[in-house]
Subunit: 145 residues, 2 copies
């Protein structure tokens, strides 16, 4: 999770919403780290989790990340939660809750749908204070700017 | 929709689940056409809609596709439906229903969630027979193969 927080901080310094993600192999190796890059890439799908999943799949040469774990600083949105399911991520660890945009414990609750064919183990609240503080600082600065 | 069906057919010929998507500008110009490439790219996020959205955003140099319309042969999954919302697509036209994997009229029903901040107009059932036939033929051949 410290690596994911570093990526979130780096995203903020690029003017992106500060979210960072890390994917770890079953052996404990870091396969991918990514921060949000929707603005830089002009790509509304370029959330940290999506970029990390795509990079890890490229690294493994596989469209599934069986037994891999994903760490992300914010509750994934429905798009990312569905991608996490498609990628067969084993465990999802996340930081801050996102009542407005989250799709795990809020809104579409992707993993609770009967049409969700792979459900990861979910652990929330990791480094929640740090992850939430990064977001609060970022949005407060934007409101003032 | 004929263009989207062509893309779906092309996807099938590459061994991919036959789904095709097209994005059209407010002026009626085709901004992007794409077929499913999850296997070829080793990318579980490489659904036709996602690739089309990313290509159209690149073409416009914008992370939003305001007033653009998306045509796709199959009901979008929750990942794609959320991406369609993020991209601010104006109208979504789709062909076959997908009770097992869809996220518009089934499962997560992304656009019906109070946390969905942009809801496109949705028109379903366009070229439903052709789109559905492509999928049925593809999966029947795989079961026999």
């Amino acid at each position: 999770m410290p690596l994911a927080l570093d990526e979130a901080q780096a995203a903020a310094s690029r003017g992106e919403v500060p979210v960072g993600a890390v994917i770890v192999s079953p052996a404990g190796d870091v396969l991918a780290v990514a921060g949000n890059r929707t603005r830089e890439l002009n790509d509304p799908t370029a959330h940290a989790e999506m970029l990390a999943i795509r990079a890890a799949c490229t690294a493994l040469g596989d469209e599934r990340l069986v037994d891999c774990d994903l760490y992300v600083t914010l509750e994934p949105c429905p798009m990312c939660a569905a991608a996490i399911s498609f990628a067969r991520i084993r465990r999802l660890y996340y930081g801050a809750n996102d009542p407005k945009g989250g799709g795990v414990e809020h809104g579409a609750r992707i993993f609770s749908q009967p049409t969700c064919h792979h459900v990861p183990e979910v652990y929330s609240g990791l480094a929640e204070a740090e992850a939430g503080a990064l977001l609060k600082t970022f949005f407060a600065a934007r409101r003032e700017g």
